[in-house]
């Protein structure tokens, strides 16, 4: 069995309106997948269901054959849309925190990345800028040797030079046993590292395809295709 994530007829309603309806897809190990869609299309809801923060109304999620729960949290590294780390912690405290929490956390990777991005581990989170805090959070998540990475808008608040470094980290950390699911609006920045995209619209999957197939078929980048499909 080579799939790491399977979603079967997932649906979720919030006070009557459908956030997700009948989502079906499978993600293979060793792939980097972009989860794209306009605001309110269901990207974050989907990631929350995969991580067990929300329960679907119908359908099921299987991660390496298991339903979301304690066992899957051991193998899924999740970057939520909002930071959850306590403000009083130093950067080095957060690293110890992750080391305690996750058996697959590799402090050496985290230290290297902090150095490269010139983040002082002795600073308190409270004193860091929004973008730097986001970097710390992403470093923690990427320093786990997980089997599935779920990144919800990982580079939104990060400056372009650091984005390049982070995108490169995703490639160099690549391991054929793990898959990376990235939700983002910055399509142009990441599309060259993607294998596949899943495009959501109003809570349904409207396209799930290999990115090079799309480029061959449409003769344009994923970014241009997105702008065309969702033209306002």
């Amino acid at each position: 069995m080579n799939s790491i994530l399977q979603c079967e007829s997932l649906s979720k309603k919030f006070s009557g309106s459908a956030a997700l309806s009948n989502i079906n897809f499978t993600i293979e190990r060793g792939r980097i997948i972009g989860l794209l869609g306009p605001n309110g299309s269901g990207k974050t809801t989907l990631l929350k269901i995969i991580n067990g923060l929300l329960v679907p109304d119908t359908g099921k999620v299987q991660i390496s054959g298991m339903e979301p729960g304690i066992e899957t949290k051991k193998i899924v590294s999740y970057l939520p849309e909002r930071t959850y780390l306590a403000d009083w912690m130093k950067v080095s405290d957060t690293i110890d925190f992750f080391k305690d929490f996750y058996g697959d956390f590799d402090a050496k990777i985290a230290d290297d990345m902090l150095k490269r991005l010139k983040i002082d581990p002795n600073k308190k989170l409270k004193t860091l800028s929004k973008g730097t805090k986001e970097k710390v959070q992403l470093i923690l998540v990427m320093s786990r040797r997980a089997e599935l990475y779920c990144l919800d808008e990982p580079i939104g608040g990060v400056d372009p030079a650091s984005r390049d470094y982070i995108v490169n980290t995703i490639i160099t950390n690549y391991n054929e046993n793990a898959a990376v699911l990235i939700s983002t609006h910055l399509i142009a920045e990441i599309e060259n590292i993607l294998d596949e995209v899943i495009i959501l619209k109003d809570g349904t999957v409207i396209l799930h395809s290999s990115v090079d197939d799309i480029r061959t078929k449409e003769g344009k980048s994923i970014d241009s295709l997105f702008r065309e499909v969702f033209k306002c």
Partner: protein, 123 residues
């Protein structure tokens, strides 16, 4: 090496073209060992799977070959490289002649212009 990948065309095709170009230009010499897929992918800022696909394609065409235990190498077949060089020269010429046609030049004119320009550049 310098990679220049855009997002308009399939990435693996661009990788193939650029590796071919670097073999022609002599950046990679016959029988050179190629860096690992991972290193090449990181250098070009592309997905390792895509780099793998490009290399597999180049292997199929014989330009590179892999040795199970020690990695991938550039072919030592000089004829094959020469052939590739000829092919890409031809592509450039066809492209150029078509563009000149669009500008409204006849074939004869194009030929004289080339000869003249080459002379000027030699000065």
């Amino acid at each position: 090496m310098q990679w220049d990948i855009n997002s308009e065309r399939p990435v693996y095709i661009q990788l193939i073209e650029q590796i071919q170009a670097s073999i022609i230009s002599g950046y990679f010499k016959p029988s050179d060992k190629l860096p690992s897929v991972r290193d090449l992918a990181a250098e070009a800022s592309v997905n390792p799977n895509t780099m793998q696909k490009a290399l597999a394609e180049l292997e199929r065409s014989g330009l590179i070959y892999s040795n199970r235990t020690s990695g991938r190498y550039i072919t030592s077949d000089l004829m094959l490289i020469k052939e590739l060089k000829g092919k890409s020269a031809k592509c450039l010429i066809i492209d150029f002649v078509e563009k000149m046609k669009q500008l409204g030049f006849e074939q004869e004119e194009v030929l004289t212009m080339i000869t003249e320009t080459i002379k000027e550049m030699g000065k």
